[in-house]
Amino acid sequence: MAARKIKFDWVAATANDLKGGEAVFRRADGSWTRTVAEAELVPGGEAGAALLARAQADHAANRVVEPVLIAVDPATRRPLSLRERIRADGPTV
């Protein structure tokens, strides 16, 4: 999955919080936030792979569950896909 996502221009790392299950996004300082706009954005490719590796270390450390990279529009800091926008904002209904 990660390999497919690396080609995106700008990416953020997202996961679910272990205890609560909320959708969370990784900040540059290594903490996790529920606000996607606060997430660390890096170009895809190598920087993306490194971000994913850091996120996976948080999974291994049992802080978050199943991290992946998602494509984010750097201008609006909004996820590009509808699924990820719904994850970030909550249900549309």
Partner: protein
């Protein structure tokens, strides 16, 4: 209804303790997510888009008022003051925290409920006719058998790691309200000429990405052989079902690939070799379980209620409700009330904690303390006196629960879709809401008549779209939500899988497309008695395709 005995109580209590220990080991890091996931799934805990989701079993859909109040309470304390009733006669809480789940399970255990085997590759919550023990057309009450199956399948040591999930459904009435032919095992309880009880046994039905209608293995399996025979089917499946590909792992694929004859031969050989100890259900055991389902003490009443008929002449809303949402009861002077969880523009299957409390009160006062969850995501009050219907209707209306649309176009089944579900391709709920609003006018709905519309957000078909008269399936087309339409599905004795009508529709065109289908039907039906499904069966896809794609 069934009450836990000492055994069930210690079983559920131990299970809560076990899961509390597993959650603690997960939170402390002793268990990794990979190790924990199968364990949480065995306790009904999923990780969805926004939160953990807890799926609670409501065995064969039967609930007491006390249990429903507990669900309302859990909704208030641990969720957002609501719960979601599903087509599998379960309840889902969409916003729970992992750390809270052991406490929720402990609360459930107080009212004899749990979440065991609501997920994972095991035998799932056994479902049954939601009118069981009440419907006028019932031959044999299926609940004792569903309960026997529940006990037998609970933590069955041999069948907890099957190739894939396994669903059983039981019905005992002339009209199959349990959709038994789209289950892994479907059972129809019936009587032979000598009055003995037995089962027609169907195997290998299912929906999902490869919908199949079940095949009949036995026409009349004697009552005593129920468990031994099901066990034989499960053993053959456990050993021979495919494990190389999760999409081909259900028993329907095994039956399809090997053919009915070969499967029947394996099952019969396995059944013949069953050890004596498990072989036959004793009469005493059947009677013991059946006693829990003895009918409540119905009053001797005339078949018609003057009180109700008088009230109906004065109150059009009541009249509509009675003609639409009340079905014939086996006891004279009683009716079976369907409470729609499909208000116009609402989320199908959702009930607030306050509504659950209101329903519990109504059932306690007017329905012998009993409720049912139907696979159409509605609630049933099984035993209401016709004389009481005006009061029941008023109480339901006060709680926003008197929508008179049972079986109509706005009584839509919809899965959670992309608003909640991690597997979804497209949203289901907003589509249901928009269609519901478009057809809000009750006169129009009634003029259209029975029409079963079912929506799934992906090919897993949790919203039963394959068996909808009109089925809607959400797909992803290059990042856009798109919706395919199937026509002519049905889930009862005349079970059929719907046929794809043609290319899909964008989200902002799907409601128009449904309206076009409905208008086309209205124009071509012979008379108002010819339902959408009947008309479709007579004319086929042609006229509908022409209407939908005329401008294309």
């Amino acid at each position: 209804m069934y009450r836990y005995d000492q055994f069930d109580r210690s079983f559920v209590a131990a299970r809560v303790a076990e899961f509390r220990d597993q959650v603690a080991r997960r939170l402390s890091g002793e268990l990794t997510e990979d190790q924990f996931k199968p364990l949480r799934l065995m306790n009904g805990v999923y990780l969805q888009l926004h939160a953990y989701m807890l799926r609670i079993a409501i065995p064969y859909g039967v609930l007491s008022s006390r249990q429903l109040r507990k669900l309302a309470h859990i909704g208030r304390v641990y969720d957002r003051s609501s719960g979601h009733f599903t087509t599998r006669q379960n309840l889902q809480f969409n916003w729970v925290r992992l750390a809270d789940i052991p406490d929720i399970l402990a609360e459930l255990a107080e009212v004899e409920m749990h979440a065991i085997q609501t997920s994972g590759n095991c035998i799932r919550n056994v479902t049954a006719d939601h009118f069981a023990g009440a419907a006028a057309d019932e031959t044999v009450d299926p609940r004792p058998y569903a309960e026997l199956l529940r006990q037998w399948s609970s933590l069955h040591p041999e069948f907890t790691f099957l190739p894939r999930k396994f669903k059983l459904a039981v019905t005992g009435a002339a009209v199959d309200r349990a959709a038994i032919q789209v289950h892994d095992i479907g059972l129809e309880v019936k009587r032979n000429e000598r009055g003995e009880i037995g089962f027609a046994v169907y195997v290998g039905g299912g929906q999902g990405r490869t919908p199949m209608i079940a095949k009949k293995l036995r026409d009349f399996l004697p009552e005593r052989d129920l468990l031994a025979y099901c066990e034989a089917i499960l053993r053959v499946y456990n050993l021979e079902g495919r494990r190389d590909n999760k999409y081909k792992a259900r028993i329907k694929i095994l039956v399809h690939e090997k053919g009915l004859e070969e499967i029947a031969a394996s099952v019969e050989a396995e059944f013949a070799a069953q050890p004596v100890a498990t072989a036959a259900l004793g009469e005493a055991e059947i009677a013991r379980i059946a006693a829990y389902f003895a009918p409540p003490r119905f009053a001797a009443l005339p078949a018609r209620s003057a009180v109700l008929e008088d009230a109906q002449t004065e109150d059009a809303a009541l009249c509509r409700f009675v003609s639409r949402n009340v079905s014939a009861h086996k006891a004279p002077g009683y009716g079976v009330v369907t409470v729609s969880l499909k208000p116009i523009g609402g989320i199908p299957g959702d009930a607030t904690s306050d509504q659950m409390d209101a329903l519990a009160d109504i059932a306690e006062r007017w329905s012998f303390d009993e409720l049912r969850v139907s696979h159409a995501q509605n609630i049933v009050l099984p035993h209401v006196r016709l004389d009481d219907l005006p009061q029941v209707h008023a109480a339901l209306a006060a709680a926003g629960l008197a929508t008179p649309n049972d079986g109509l176009v706005t009584d839509i089944i919809a899965c959670p879709g992309l608003d909640y579900c991690a597997l979804a391709n497209a949203r289901s709920i907003p589509v249901a809401q928009e269609i519901s609003q478009r057809f809000a006018d009750l006169d129009r709905q009634n003029a259209i008549g029975e029409l079963k519309l079912k929506i799934s957000g992906c090919i897993n078909a949790c919203g039963h779209h394959h068996v909808g008269h009109i089925g809607i399936l959400g797909v992803d087309r290059q990042g856009e939500e798109f919706y395919q339409i199937t026509l002519g599905g049905a889930e009862g004795a005349d079970c059929a899988i719907g046929e794809l009508v043609g290319p899909g529709f964008a989200a902002d065109k799907i409601t128009d497309a449904v309206e076009t289908l409905v208008e086309t039907y209205l124009k071509l039906r012979r008379d108002p008695g010819e339902r959408f499904l009947d008309a479709y069966r007579r004319v086929g896809l042609g006229p509908f395709q022409e209407a939908l794609y005329a401008d294309a």
